[in-house]
Point group: C3
Chain length 256, copies 3
Amino acid sequence: MKFNRKNITIGENVKFGKNIRIGDNSTIYDNVKIGDDSVICNDCVIGEPLSEYYTDINYKNQRTTIGNNAFIRSHSLIYAQVEAGNHFSTGHRVTIREDTLFGDNCRVGTLSDIQGKVSFGNYCWLHSNVHIGQNSTIGDFVFIYPYVVFTNDPHPPSNVCTGPTIGDYTQIAVGSILLPGIQVGENCLIGANAVVTSDIEDYSVVIGNPAKYKCDIRDIPSQENNTMHYPWMHNFSRGMPWENVGYDNWLKNQHG
Amino acid sequence: MKFNRKNITIGENVKFGKNIRIGDNSTIYDNVKIGDDSVICNDCVIGEPLSEYYTDINYKNQRTTIGNNAFIRSHSLIYAQVEAGNHFSTGHRVTIREDTLFGDNCRVGTLSDIQGKVSFGNYCWLHSNVHIGQNSTIGDFVFIYPYVVFTNDPHPPSNVCTGPTIGDYTQIAVGSILLPGIQVGENCLIGANAVVTSDIEDYSVVIGNPAKYKCDIRDIPSQENNTMHYPWMHNFSRGMPWENVGYDNWLKNQHG
Amino acid sequence: MKFNRKNITIGENVKFGKNIRIGDNSTIYDNVKIGDDSVICNDCVIGEPLSEYYTDINYKNQRTTIGNNAFIRSHSLIYAQVEAGNHFSTGHRVTIREDTLFGDNCRVGTLSDIQGKVSFGNYCWLHSNVHIGQNSTIGDFVFIYPYVVFTNDPHPPSNVCTGPTIGDYTQIAVGSILLPGIQVGENCLIGANAVVTSDIEDYSVVIGNPAKYKCDIRDIPSQENNTMHYPWMHNFSRGMPWENVGYDNWLKNQHG
C-alpha cells in the first residue's frame, strides 16, 4: 500500500541511484542526491530549504547527499546541506538541520532533533528524542539514548556557541545533559540524568548533577556472562562491523 | 471541515464498527479493526507495517485492534499488532510500536513514544512526551507525566532488555527515569526528575537522583481539603469509573 | 517548490492580510485571522477546533489571531482561540493549545508543546521541545531552553491546576522542571536540570534537585569580554529591540 507515487514532489537536479522507493506525500527538493537501494517512506521531506528561501528570490538549494541503502521513516525532515553516508536510517519525525555530517551506518531515532553544524562519525546510534545543539562533534560508535541534550551556550543568552566533543565508543545514557564545550573521552559511560559540567577522561563512568566520577568503566561486570561488560565491543556486536568476526579480529583487520 | 474523506487510504480486510469517522489524509493498513463510534482524526496512520514490510515480499500485516469509542488525534502513528481496548484516546503525533497492549480507557499524550512489547492495564493515562521502552509492564490507574522515560538496558549496549514493572494507582511525576527491571509497587509517587535505581515498596514516595525514600504517601495532606490526599482515589474522580459513586462504593461493587 | 496552493483547505470567515503565503497541505479553520506578510509553511494547521467539535453539532470555532510577519514552520498545529502578536515564529511540529496568548516577537521551537491557558509577554523565545502546562504566566524577554517542563498539579492527580509565574528577562536552562505555582523573579537563571520547588527572588541563580541558591546572577563574568555577563541585555542584542541602539538607550526611550 505504500509507494503508490501519490502526491510526490521532486525538485530540479535530483539524482536518484538504482532501486529507490519514495513514499506517498514525500517531497524531495532541488539538488538532492540519494544513493542506491534506499527507501524514503511516506510524508518525508529531503533537502528542506534554509530560511533564506523565504526572503531571497535568488536562493538556491545547496547539495544534500544521502548514501546507499538509506531507510528514512515517515515524517522525517532533513534540511539541505546535510550529508549522510551509507546505511543511514531514521525513525519517525526526525528533524535534521543544515550542515550536519553523518559517517556510514548512523541511526537517528524517532523525534530526534539535530540542530545543524554537527559532525557524526560512523556507527553513531541516536535513540528516540535526542537533541544535539549546533557545533557538536561526535566520534565513531557513540550511542546516545533518549532525552539526552547537547548544549552550546555557557551563559545563555550569549554569542558563544560551542558544543561538546565525544570520543569513540562512548555511551551517553538517558536524560543526561552535556554542557557547552565539554570534552568527553573514549569508552566513557555517562549515567542516566547526569549533568556533565567538566571534561571526562577515557574509560570514566560519571553520574549525578553535577556529574562526578564513579568508577572505571572496565570494572563493571556483565549481567550476561562472567566477563567485565566494558569495553562493550567484546560483548555487543548486533549491527556492528565485527558482528561475525569478533571485535579483536575486526580491529586487527582495520589496522591492516 | 474535517471528515471529507479526502485522500484516505484503506487497506484490505479492514473492519470498521458503526459510526466511524476517518479524517483526511489518514491511512488504515491491512487487517485493522476499529470499534463502534470511533474517531480517527486527520493525518493518522493505523496498522503501520513492521520493518519486514520493506524487505519481505510475502510480508502480511497482522491484526491491529482499536476498541469502541476511540479518539485518535491528528498525526498519530500506530503500528500493526497493537491492541487497544475501549475508550482509547491519543494526543497528537504519538508513536506506538508493535506488540503493545492497552486495556480500556487508556490515554496517550501528544508526542509520546511507546517502543513496543509493552503492556498497559486499564485507565493508564500518559501525558505528553512519555517514552516507554520495550518490555515494560504497567498496571491499572497508573498516570505517567511528561518526559518520563522507562529504560530497559542495564549496561548499554547489551543484549539484556528488561523494562520496569509498575503497580496499580502509582503516579510517576515529570522527568523521572526508571532504570531497567525496576519493580515499583502500588500507590507509589515517584517525584519529579527522580532516577529510580532500585525497587520501591507500596505506598512509597521517592525523590532525587538516585531516588531515595522520602515518606509514606498516606502522610501527604491534601491542598484541597482537610484529608490526606493519597490514596488519591478518594480525592480525584474525573474520568474515573468511580466518578459518580465514590471510590469505596465502586470498589465494593467490583469485588461483588 | 513551496506555495503551489496544492491541497490547501480554508474555512469560513478567514481573514488574510496582504502578502500571505500558505504552504501545501495546510488547513486554516473557521474564524482565523492572519496578519500581513506572514508565511504559513507546508502541512500546518491553524485554528484547530477544540474537542467539542467532535461531539457538539452546534460547535463554532472562536477567533484565532496571528499577527503580521508571522513565520510558521511546517507541521505546526495551532488551536483555535490562540492569539499571537506580530513577528510570531515557530519551529517544526509545534503544538499550541487553545487560550494561549503571545505578545509580539515570540518564538516557539520545534516540537514544543504549549498546553493552553498560558500567557506569554513580548520577546519570549522557547527553544526546541519545551513543555508549558496550563495556567502558566511568562513575562517579557524570557528565554526557555530545550526540555524544560512547567507543571501545575502539586499532588498528582488532583483538581488543583496552578502553573508557574516567570519574571522578565529570566533564563531557564535545559531540562529544568518548575513545580506548580512557583514564582520566579526577574533576571534569574535556572540551571540545567534544576527542579525548582520554591519561589526565587530577582537576580538569583539556582541549581540542583531541589534547586538551591548558588549566587547572584550579577556575579557571573562574561566569557566574551571583561564585564559581568548579566543582566544579559548589555551583552546580547541579536533579535532584541535594542539591537542597534544598546539596552540602556532603548530602555530610556521606553520610559519616554
